[in-house]
């Protein structure tokens, strides 16, 4: 696999679905690409099209090697090419893992391997995925985590050029999920082909994927480097997808001054100049600072104060966080110790938003 050097997957597909049209185009090289979107946004359908399990109506899917001189076309509607899934060398990790219930662990892992190296490869995978001792068991006798490892081992033994992961953790409880996410991260790091992870879980995508696409209603609404995308989602929709809880329409009142219309005409100062295209502002629920009455007096005269009075907050307790809702539906989340149960000690009179925490956005907030 290493010999393939740079490998790149190009995807452009259109497919008419029941309530919308799937229309996505992207390119991905090494590293894991995350596709984040709500259930039923067409992301699984996109993956199935790449694997050849379903056929799109139109488009082109190709794997390119090296500096683009060589390519392998998996699907191209313009020349009526539709390679069978058997010949695509695209591995697919199903939500339910799709292990063959009538085959033992080692039979499952070896099923895609031909020829004499089968035994060696299976043994290698059993070791790599810590499945030693389970080789004679059947899938029905394994835990969820073990099943996932067998499914991954089965795919890796087949040595695909692309691996597609379809909501790999959706069928698991939280405790197991966190552990397996770390494991999968390690596996993906060692894999030199292309990998695409589809999920509706923000944390999962952030943790595992270097690049990301946000998808809704069959369309890609934003894409790019994961960290950059979370820091600057650009549009209101993308901001919502990355988990930004507070978004308000704005009116520009100065070069770096805005009035947040949905938050009681709150006046705020931004860090960057506000361009004409900016229509909204976002604040992440974790980005507020608690400010006492005294400190607030100091900030009051400063243009960068960005103070918000805390009036009749409604507080909800989580194990390690307080969820506080303020006037105009502003959300504030603040960390707490598991030993603290009374919110009075943590609820300040004022909150403050540092100018750098204001996310300038385009588009209409929903």
């Amino acid at each position: 696999m290493e010999a393939d050097g740079n490998i790149c997957l190009e995807v452009k597909i259109e497919k008419r679905l029941k309530s919308f049209t799937l229309d996505v185009g992207f390119q991905t090289e090494g590293g894991c690409l995350g596709i984040l979107g709500p259930s039923g946004c067409g992301k699984s359908m996109a993956l199935k099209s790449i694997a050849g399990i379903v056929s799109p109506d139109r488009g082109r899917i190709a794997v390119r090697y090296g500096r683009g001189e060589q390519e392998r076309i998996l699907y191209d509607s313009s020349c009526k090419k539709n390679e069978s899934p058997q010949r695509r060398r695209v591995g697919y990790l199903f939500q339910n893992y799709a292990l063959f219930p009538n085959m033992s662990v080692e039979e499952n892992i070896g099923i895609g391997v031909r020829g004499r190296e089968k035994k060696i490869r299976v043994r290698e995978m059993l070791e790599r995925f810590r499945l030693g001792g389970l080789e004679k068991r059947y899938p029905g006798q394994l835990s969820g985590g073990q099943q996932q490892r067998v499914a991954l081992a089965r795919i890796m033994a087949y040595e695909p050029e692309v691996i597609l992961l379809d909501e790999p953790f959706s069928a698991m409880d939280t405790h197991l999920k966190e552990k397996l996410r770390l494991e999968l991260g390690e596996i993906l790091k060692d894999y030199h082909g292309i990998s695409i992870l589809v999920t509706h879980d923000r944390d999962e995508a952030y943790q595992l994927c270097s690049n990301m696409l946000l998808m809704d209603q069959g369309q890609v609404i934003a894409g790019g480097n994961t960290k950059a995308l979370f820091q600057n989602p650009v549009t209101c929709r993308a901001a919502r997808f990355t988990g930004c809880k507070n978004i308000s329409r704005i009116e520009r009142t100065g070069e770096r001054r805005i009035r947040a219309l949905d938050w009681g005409n709150l006046e705020l100062t931004t860090a960057e100049a506000v361009g004409d295209e900016i229509t909204a502002v976002g604040i992440r629920a974790h980005d507020f600072e608690a400010v006492s009455g005294e400190e607030a007096e100091k900030w009051a005269d400063c243009p960068e104060g960005n103070l918000i009075p805390v009036r009749n907050p409604s507080v909800s307790e989580m194990p390690f966080e307080w969820y506080v809702t303020l006037d105009h539906g502003l959300w504030w989340k603040t960390e707490k110790s598991i030993h603290v149960h009374s919110p009075e000690q943590v609820i300040p009179q004022w909150l403050r938003v540092p100018p750098s925490a204001l996310i300038l956005l385009t588009g209409e907030p929903e």
Binding site: G91, A98, F100, I111, R137
Partner: protein, 225 residues
């Protein structure tokens, strides 16, 4: 008591279930794989017809095709000098025709209940279509397929209407157990009829028990008991 109806019925039922079993599975696999919904509907309709038509009507069609003057019948007479109608093979023909839809429908239902993801996974792992059928689809549909076999066997054993049309009721040749029961009752020999009835009940009950046992065992093995 004349033992020939018992022997004839055993021979007919065993050979016909052998044929029906494979034909039914094959037909089910082909129909499940059909992409065009219209063709699928039409094929399914034709293959199910013997189940919904009166047996005598199916017998009529068989006679029309396999009779000495029928397309297939005349062909066999001309080239092989074999008369199919009113000979022992006709009892098999009737039993296969009448039991086929039960096998086909059970197998189809069993195939359709196999998780589609298993098939897709097998394809993405490079397994050929035939290999997928033999190693994934069929093994995971075995309980349903075997119970279809039970039904088809019982149907073949009890076949009367179509058999009487195409094979007739020739003692020692085409008189199967159901035919014998009918003949004995018609002749007023209730005692002999009782014997035949008892034999049918025992065979039918035993075969269902044996096949159910097999289905249960197969089901257990597939799911790693």
């Amino acid at each position: 008591m004349d033992w020939s109806p018992i022997l004839i019925s055993m021979k007919t039922a065993s050979l016909s279930i052998f044929i029906t079993f494979f034909l039914g599975i094959l037909a089910a696999w082909l129909v499940v794989r059909m992409r065009n919904p219209v063709w699928k509907l039409i094929s399914d309709g034709i293959l199910t017809l013997p189940l919904v038509l009166p047996p005598t009507v199916m017998g009529f069609f068989l006679l029309d095709l396999f009779g000495v003057k029928g397309w297939i019948g005349s062909f066999f007479v001309e080239y092989f000098s074999i008369k199919i109608a009113f000979s022992w093979p006709a009892t098999v023909l009737a039993a296969v025709t009448m039991s086929f839809p039960l096998m086909y429908r059970s197998a189809r239902g069993a195939f359709e209940q196999v998780d589609q993801n298993l098939i897709s996974a097998a394809r993405t792992l490079g397994m050929g279509e035939w290999e997928i059928f033999a190693r994934v689809l069929l093994p995971n549909a075995i309980p349903g397929v075997v119970s279809g076999g039970v039904l088809a066997f019982a149907r073949g054993l009890g076949e009367f209407g179509a058999t009487s049309m195409i094979a007739g009721n020739i003692a020692g040749k085409t008189r199967t157990l159901p035919m014998a029961v009918y003949s004995e009752v018609a002749a007023g020999n209730m005692d002999t009829a009782y014997d035949y009835v008892a034999v049918i009940v025992v065979i039918a009950f035993l075969s269902v028990c044996i096949m159910n046992g097999a289905a249960w065992k197969a089901g257990k093995e597939t799911h790693g008991g």
